[in-house]
């Protein structure tokens, strides 16, 4: 589903990613772990198509299509979803408005019928029920005044509504206590399916106790240094990143 080939990227002229190769198939969960400054968040932003991040070499292929030149909204339409490390607050825009606009924009992109008000309400009520989210969250402005946990739950709700093929979770555990972390992981697990994939980007192993990956990759100095099964995460937890941080590109 996702093929990253020899990906080089820079931010403000500074080279951050220096040749990443990664394949993720349908139904898989991959984790990327790495020390601070290794390029983890850059990779997440590059996948989502953020403006200031420039791909200088290599490519990103999604379902066989090169998406490295697509706009962020086009990538969303293709089925890529980025859960932000720090979800942004949007004063004055309610969750309902936001979700409806986003879903219909993606449906338009894919040439599908837009949902009308009634259909949308019915659909979203089903999702909130499924995830155990209170309906009043829908009336609130996007992430405004939300606790860290609520913001992440809101991301899960967005995922449930937008139903992406690939969800990239960028340090989703930042600022969450263990209870909130469990709730979020539970939400992610509910959305796991045969035809979608998840890429978890994290510094700490603890999230991976709850979202269990099929593969773990160690990212350091802009390159994947090692790949392995879920036991690799436990090894990193024990030994830290010292073995990788010394390696220059």
């Amino acid at each position: 589903m996702l093929e990253i080939k020899n990906l080089h990227a820079e931010v403000d002229g500074k080279s951050i990613l220096q040749g990443i190769d990664l394949n993720i198939n349908k139904g898989e969960v991959h984790a990327i772990m790495g020390p601070n400054g290794s390029g983890k968040s850059t990779l997440a932003n590059v996948l989502a198509g953020r403006d200031d991040y420039e791909v200088t070499e290599g490519g990103i292929f999604f379902d066989g299509k090169d998406i490295s030149e697509l706009e962020p909204e086009e990538r969303a339409g293709e089925g890529i979803f980025l859960a932000f490390q720090y979800p942004v607050e949007i004063p004055g825009v309610t969750n309902t408005t936001f979700l409806k606009e986003a879903l219909n924009a993606q449906r338009r992109y894919r040439g599908e019928e837009e949902l009308d008000g009634m259909e949308f309400v019915k659909m979203i009520r089903g999702k909130t029920k499924e995830l155990g989210i209170k309906d009043d969250m829908l009336k609130r402005a996007v992430n405004v005044g939300f606790s860290g946990g609520e913001k992440k739950r809101n991301d899960i709700l967005q995922m449930a509504v937008l139903n992406p093929k690939l969800a990239v979770l960028d340090e989703t555990d930042s600022g969450l206590d263990i209870d909130a972390l469990k709730v979020v992981a539970e939400g992610v697990n509910k959305l796991r399916a045969e035809n979608n994939a998840i890429l978890v980007i994290t510094h700490y192993q603890r999230l991976l106790n709850y979202i269990v990956p099929d593969q773990v990759h160690v990212l350091a100095n802009g390159k994947i240094r090692r790949s392995g099964g879920k036991e690799l995460a436990l090894e990193l937890e024990e030994k830290g990143y010292a073995d990788y941080s010394g390696e220059a590109a």
Partner: protein
């Protein structure tokens, strides 16, 4: 020095040409104040960059445009006239090129409301209008009001008697007919009787795209325990020059609540001065403005807190694209005896283009020691993180920007209590966003 078509001399020539046919020209007292005011205007001249209150708003574009002397011809209506509210919930008065049209206005006013046109009142000569009611507290700072007084040809005198709670909104349409290069100086008077409640919405709109110059002055008194909601939708064409000066006196326990939605005109200047000289008087001066191309929007307010226990709230938000320019000058004066004053002012501007500009001058002058006053002015670009967040969920750059700008402006509309009008303002904001393509650089 090059003489520009509409320099001071041109307006003085307008006075010389039209003084014998202005309404009320058989009233000695009126001729006297017209003469006095044109002399005052002659002394001061048009405001320039050196005029403190006009520091950020240049009238040079106006001066470069030729205008003809005001005409008092009968208005002619051709097309359908714009209406903000349906006729079930409003009565509409119509002014075309500054002149009242009895034929086009709704004939029945709600009980307790009287409206006379200034021209009719002056020509009949039997009103209680006098020199005092047409004079301004700081006349020497207001050369354009002086010009208005010298040349005023029409306007409305609207009175709401006491203990009346109007269910219908009074809509006043100021329509430009498309007659090129016209000038109009309208003078309006509103008085709201004690313990009455009224909503007035003024609407500036045009049938043509031509330049004209509208110089309006309005004097308002809101009497004891009365509430006036005074709204304005300024949607003139982008060649028009609109200058207005509103002077408000708020009585004991009374409230003056205003909201301006400004999208039109090449140059629009709205000056509102409020005097809170009676206990528990309050005012709300709220609004939003949107500008694009080379539009210029100036909102200048002054609130004088003159007695204890008076309140003023002011929330203005603006969005500027293209080379548009916004000006906000907000002065709050808390006089020595005005203890327990509450005054809050905020102005926020969002710039959508590198060439858009906003100039602000908030001023607090506080001479009392037991007051709660705050003011805040911010201006900035659209939040890039929010933009990316929305785009990453599938919204296009344009949709995302529109959603964010809409939310930014809608926040100011929250202050409007009338739900129908709130909706109307929100629709206007969405329409503006739809019709004015974003011009990022």
């Amino acid at each position: 020095m090059v003489t520009l078509p509409s320099d001071k001399e041109a307006f003085i020539a307008h006075y010389d040409q039209s003084k014998d046919r202005l309404p009320g020209n058989n009233l000695a007292w009126l001729n006297e104040i017209r003469a006095k005011n044109i002399a005052l205007f002659n002394d001061i001249g048009l405001p320039t960059a050196k005029t403190e209150l006009w520091k950020f708003t240049s009238l040079n574009p106006l001066k470069k445009q030729a205008f003809s002397a005001p005409e008092t011809s009968e208005p002619a209506a051709n097309d359908e006239l714009p209406r903000l509210m349906d006729s079930a919930s409003s009565v509409r008065l119509v002014f075309i090129d500054g002149n009242y049209s009895d034929a086009l206005s709704d004939s029945t006013l709600p009980t307790g409301v009287t409206m006379e046109s200034l021209a009719a009142v002056l020509d009949n000569g039997n009103s209680d209008l006098n020199q005092e009611r047409l004079s301004r507290p700081r006349a020497e700072e207001q050369p354009l009001v002086a010009l208005n007084t010298a040349l005023m040809a029409d306007g409305y005198i609207l009175s709401i008697s006491k203990d009346v709670s109007l269910e219908k909104t009074i809509e006043i349409l100021h329509l430009g007919s498309g007659k090129a290069e016209s000038t109009h100086h309208t003078r309006n008077i509103i008085s709201v009787g004690s313990s009455s409640k009224a909503t007035i919405i003024e609407h500036n709109a045009d049938h043509g795209e031509n330049a004209y110059f509208s110089n309006a002055a309005t004097d308002i008194s809101v009497n004891e325990n009365a509430t006036l909601h005074h709204y304005r939708v300024q949607a003139s064409n982008k060649s028009a020059f609109l200058v207005s000066s509103t002077e408000v006196e708020v009585g004991k326990g009374a409230t003056y609540d205003s909201f301006l939605l400004n999208t039109g005109a090449r140059l629009a200047r709205s000056e509102i001065n409020v005097s809170l000289a009676a206990e528990n008087s309050a005012c709300h001066l709220n609004g939003t403005y949107m500008g694009t191309d080379d539009q210029h929007c100036d909102i200048t307010t002054r609130v004088d807190h003159k007695t204890p226990h008076t309140t003023c709230d002011e929330v203005i938000k603006g969005v500027l694209a293209g080379r548009a320019r916004g000006v906000f000058q907000g002065k709050i004066i808390v006089h020595e005896q005005a203890q327990k004053t509450v005054g809050n002012q905020s102005h926020r501007a969002m710039l959508l283009s590198d060439r858009a500009e906003v100039d602000v001058k908030p001023e607090l002058e506080i001479f009392a020691d037991d007051v709660i006053c705050s003011h805040g002015c911010t201006s900035g670009q659209i939040d890039e993180d929010a933009l990316f967040y929305l785009r990453s969920r599938g919204l296009s750059q344009e949709q995302a920007q529109s959603l964010l700008v809409n939310a930014f402006l809608a926040d100011a509309v929250e202050a409007v209590q009338n739900e129908d009008l709130k909706d109307l303002f929100l629709v206007r904001i969405s329409d503006w966003l739809e019709n004015n393509p974003n011009k990022p650089a």
